[in-house]
Point group: C2
Chain length 319, copies 2
């Protein structure tokens, strides 16, 4: 039995994830060039920057300049990322250009929360309660729960589906207290622990408890299983994925300095195209943009497809 | 519905595929070092060389020296590859050390047969008829049909399942004429055209026609979908795969000079391990050998896993 979707919605995070981790500096004009090129491929959701502490993430010291400079194309949702009140305030300055939305961002692993955020899960819940209220007070919707390390954790090992469900339940409680409705539950394989069975198990349990919200996946290709994981999720009807062009990004976490980044947008689009699932994206055009991304960062990116070329190019030659 | 196998048999082809395509030269002693290291990981099938025209494939000019030099471990099937009478003769010199077996090697794409072998399909059938008889006359079993370009072709485009069935039927006719029984049908995604639906479709059609032989897959990761394709095949009960440690190899065919090689053995073993499928292989040990392969060829290999490290290592730390 399979329940493949007819359309898969892809949220491109290459600029944000990629430029954050590159040793750089990458000129603002190059960031703008990539964002504008991505907008021409048929993508409708592009995360363009991080409003984060510029001391910790120098790659995004030019977040404001980048957002100010790119030419927005109508019909595309340009988004940003932030983690605190200061980041929200910076984002609010661009509420006409960016699609602003908050998330209740939690982690299924207490070990990761402590190492990454220097907080306990309870402290993180308190912070999210406050942040949700703050977003709503600024009329920024909070309709998404994000769960990091939902499939395993370098600091804590395997994460059970029950632990993910409990984490989502904590997020749902915060949403209920604030009178906001969760439309998307985003599960992140932050450190590359997922495999198809685990994907099926976790998504099955979350969906059994909350049948209504859209389930979105944020997959990393740390150990080469990301596309197989996406295929397993699609088979269950999952129809929303984050990805990065060229496989931009990487993994800053324990013992994985050389590891691959997010699932490649091109490979995800190829998977969909060959499965007869629409994404609205022109794959040949996207491959060109993947090659541009490689040129901008100045090193080989993990995407195999941008090096091999698309099947449609060969189909046209063979015809 | 799924029909996952309990055990997956992996045929390691890293030495043969990898050293054939590297610009090299790689010293014989290094080839021997890799072969002997692979034998300690739990692998039971290792393809160690190609007995091919040394003018065309200088990387295997030392095939004889390599086979003579490695120390064989009892219980392991060491195999070689050859395409003609001369290659068979060279292999026969090592029949005490190598497990010799012939294959009826066909291609589902007439375009590929012409470009790669400079023959028509009919001419290739005649050659295979002759070669099968020659093998049997030397008491070398021929129990395998191999079909290249079974999922698509750079020269011919999409390949239908009916075309694959017709190609296997041609091979079955040759086997019947020679009174030999086909035990394995090996389907190769020679140029990286497969996707999960296509895998299911082709395997379904071949199996419907010939329910008894084992179906084996030889997958290339040319466009990043190899692991997803392996997962789709395993879901149908496919339990035999060729692969290469580190993702050694590459794709010498039209327009894909920079493309990735075979599916990585480590990523296939990881997929199996996380799905609860036994391979008999020690993954942590195999990852070490993947890193050795990278050191031997002197450049980064496509395997993500050898760069990220295994999950079990993190599990032990977290425990």
């Amino acid at each position: 039995m399979s329940d493949y979707p007819k359309f898969v919605e892809i949220h491109e995070e290459g600029p944000r994830e990629g430029f954050q981790i590159e040793p750089g500096p990458i000129p603002t004009a190059e960031k703008v060039r990539l964002i504008e090129a991505l907008a021409e491929t048929g993508l409708h959701h592009i995360q363009v920057c991080s409003f984060v502490n510029t001391r910790l993430v120098p790659g995004w010291a030019d977040a404001e300049a980048t957002v100010a400079d790119f030419k927005a194309k109508p019909g595309i949702h340009y988004t940003g990322l932030w983690f605190n009140a200061n980041g929200l305030e910076r984002a609010l300055a661009f509420r006409d250009k960016l699609t602003l939305a908050g998330a209740i961002s939690l982690t299924a692993s207490e070990g990761f929360t402590r190492k990454n955020l220097n907080r306990s899960h309870a402290e993180n819940l308190a912070a999210m309660r406050k942040q949700t209220a703050l977003h709503l007070s600024h009329h920024v919707p909070v309709n998404r729960i994000g769960v990091m390390a939902a499939f395993g954790c370098n600091y804590q090992g395997d994460i059970s589906a029950a632990q993910v469900v409990s984490t989502v339940a904590d997020g749902m409680a915060i949403a209920a207290e604030n009178g906001t409705r969760i439309e998307v539950i985003s599960l992140a394989d932050t450190m590359g622990w997922a495999a198809p069975h685990r994907i099926e198990n976790v998504i099955g349990e979350v969906r059994a408890r909350w049948p209504e919200p859209t389930i979105a996946l944020h997959l990393h290709d740390t150990r080469g299983l990301a596309v197989a994981n996406a295929a397993a999720a699609m088979r269950m009807g999952v129809a929303q994925f984050d990805s990065t062009v060229g496989g931009l990004g990487g993994c800053p976490f324990a013992g994985q300095k050389g590891a691959a980044g997010n699932i490649c947008t091109e490979e995800l689009v190829l998977l969909c195209a060959e499965m007869g699932i629409d994404t609205g994206i022109d794959l040949d055009h996207l491959i060109e943009v993947g090659r541009m991304a490689e040129e901008i960062v100045g090193h080989v990116l993990p995407s195999e497809l941008i090096h091999a070329g698309s099947l449609d190019a060969f189909r046209r030659q063979a015809a």
